[in-house]
């Protein structure tokens, strides 16, 4: 079954591969609580105590890590889909 054309499927392939690589790595960095990514966490402006802040930050770090890995998994699906489409397209043009 053919849904998308050769260019779209190629675009999907590239973005999927890129997404998998980058999101897996970013998930890893979130998981190890990388300070560089602290501005991308869903945190409040102020916290009352240090413990509150640490707890919230740890929770946010873990959640972002899982979100990144979920997105990477979705990209695995789109990768498979676009790879199949790409294969179909290349077979059509070969014939």
């Amino acid at each position: 079954m053919k849904i998308c054309g050769p260019k779209l499927s190629l675009c999907g392939l590239i973005i999927s591969v890129w997404g998998i690589v980058q999101l897996v790595l970013m998930g890893l960095f979130f998981y190890i609580n990388s300070v560089a990514l602290i501005e991308d966490l869903p945190l409040e402006e102020e916290y009352h105590s240090l413990e509150d802040f640490y707890a919230a930050a740890n929770r946010a770090y873990n959640q972002n890590a899982y979100n990144c890995w979920i997105a990477a998994c979705i990209y695995v699906l789109t990768l498979l889909l676009s790879a199949q489409q790409f294969y179909m397209n290349s077979r059509v043009t070969a014939n």
Binding site: V35, A36, I38, D40, Q63, Y66, N67, A71, I74, Y75
Partner: protein, 857 residues
Amino acid sequence: MGSLFRSEEMALCQLFLQSEAAYACVSELGELGLVQFRDLNPDVNAFQRKFVNEVRRCDEMERKLRYLEKEIKKDGIPMLDTGESPEAPQPREMIDLEATFEKLENELREVNQNAEALKRNFLELTELKHILRKTQVFFDESVPTVYKSSGAYSSSKYRRYPQMADNQNEDEQAQLLGEEGVRASQPGQNLKLGFVAGVILRERLPAFERMLWRACRGNVFLRQAMIETPLEDPTNGDQVHKSVFIIFFQGDQLKTRVKKICEGFRATLYPCPEAPADRREMAMGVMTRIEDLNTVLGQTQDHRHRVLVAAAKNLKNWFVKVRKIKAIYHTLNLFNLDVTQKCLIAECWVPLLDFETIQLALRRGTERSGSSVPPILNRMQTFENPPTYNRTNKFTKAFQALIDAYGVASYREMNPAPYTIITFPFLFAVMFGDLGHGAIMALFGLWMIRKEKGLAAQKTDNEIWNIFFGGRYIIFLMGVFSMYTGLIYNDIFSKSLNIFGSHWHMSYNKSTVMENKFLQLSPKVDYEGAPYPFGMDPIWQVAGANKIIFHNAYKMKISIIFGVIHMIFGVVMSWHNHTYFRNRISLIYEFIPQLIFLLLLFFYMVLLMFIKWIKFAATNEKPYSEACAPSILITFIDMVLFNTPKPPPDHCETYMFFGQHFIQVLFVLVAVGCIPVMLLAKPLLIMQARKQANEEVQPIAGATSDAETGGVSNGGSHGGGGGHEEEEELSEIFIHQSIHTIEYVLGSVSHTASYLRLWALSLAHAQLAEVLWTMVLSIGLKQEGPVGGIVLTCVFAFWAILTVGILVLMEGLSAFLHTLRLHWVEFQSKFYKGQGYAFQPFSFDAIIENGAAAAEE
């Protein structure tokens, strides 16, 4: 092998060819592609040359081939392109080729004519078929009851449904005209209603209808129906939509008028019998004829296809052959004919290194033609400037193209291309420094390089793609260098990597951190003392308040340092030019003052930067602590304007080292002193030399003095070009020199500032990347809950597309253009004349490629 540093040494040669061997020899030279022929009969026009007839025959053959190609493309038959290039055929084979093409063309034309006639016939029959079918519908739409009840209703109602299909002829007119018709016929006038049927283009129909209405004052009646399937126009093969119409009218005058209008609207009229039985019969006949025609058409198409398929196999081959023959005769037209008509004389530019190869090729050509007398290749003395020929390979070609786009180097001038191979990607990367973006670019370049052969084979007209593909090595290098500078700036998609661990540590206690919004880390206490091993310390990533300020100070200084070194390198290149061309005056009175000027002012500023970096630190005691560090820019301005510097803060010193004031004054004075030397020394010396020469050799003043002073005054005399040129006037030399000097002095100030674009673009790139991250990707990351992953997927795709489109493509293009400018203006203006002309050898490869490109347009 010639070097890339200077263009090849060229020689003007005279070539004597036996007239019977000339064709074969030129053919061999064309395969070789190393010889540039000169036109020896420039005043003979194209129609009076010797081989004009042959060229014309080749043109004719090419026309036939193009016709064949067009037909093949129309039928969508794939053309076999083996990519191999057959040798130029012997002149006698030309007749065979001509005959083949003639036969093919005639056959094809005949087939096409027949097919067109058949198609026209077919179209007419189809249209007739549709008319019969549709009119049947019109006639069948009769309302038999109308007549009976006509008295009771107003006539207008019935007009809408005229009926003619009834067998009773007497009823016909009556029903058509309704009451009035009946009334009109009652007095005994026999009113005969006529009709015409035909086919018209659908888009013409409304206008046609209006015209009929106006011209006949509403006295005709038009019915129409669309033909659902589009019909094929036999002349151009387009699909057109048409409509069937039928017009009822009364009387002969109206009939002629209606027919005229039909003619005017290009409607085709068909005879349509009135009686239904006749119509049915006709329809049957039409159907059988259509079927017959279909089989004939099929056979014609098959035949055409067979002819074209056979031609498609050889077409590219033939094109190459014909283009080669044409090129050979074209070249032979440039030659001079000897008085005895026995031999042709050619003049050509030849790279000295390829002398042997060319002679071998000539010998091969002679053997092939069976001639006994070998051709003679004779080196000539000339005063003309030879063409510039830089031998390139697929790697250096793109870099050479960047240089040649500015101006082709003068003969044997220093070629900036080899240095550009390194400096170009490097300066680009300073502006484009980002590990992630560099990796994307490098991967794209690497993919093009790996798939080089396949991609090169599928030639496309896509100009943008061709530019990218031509510059694949540049793109790859730019990408790799950007990855390096990205690591130095510690930027990957605007985030930093903490590979070795930051060398800054926090020494504040918990309560201080909790209570303050901003805290400053002191380099004295919080810094380890040893720098981060490679590039920027990742701590700057989280320093929201002064990250940009810190980066600016670093990047500005770096760009000035690179710029000054780049310019000094350019000036040193001019030294190579002067020594090569034995131009002592320029060497001493131009190169040396230029270098001194640049070193004493701008390189001194660079040195000050390093001194500042080394001497001042936060851990030092007072005169050398961080608070005492002077501003380099202010110091430099004070130095040039001889200002007294502002008093420094307490316990600090005005100058960085002992004797700085004295050195600075000395440097400025010497640098300013260089300006009159650059301005006046060279013209004055030339003037003196001319005077001396005139005094010494007064009686035979002409040739020698010319040659001598000419050689001195314009450096490019090495290849024997000097004496030929007119002696430049002294006033002109003065003006040139003053322009040159002013340009250099002002230029070195403005060019140094111009290198600040390295900093500016690098800053812009880093900021844009950061904005893209915080404005786009951050939104996806900050989503809470389980939907976060799905939102992130979409946002990431959007961010990826924007990253490629804006940051890699657009920013990359802008950085590329700025790098190009830095090379063309700031670097090359120091030594590069670029007044040569390119070597354009007679080569079949180039001719065939150009021919194919021209044909495809």
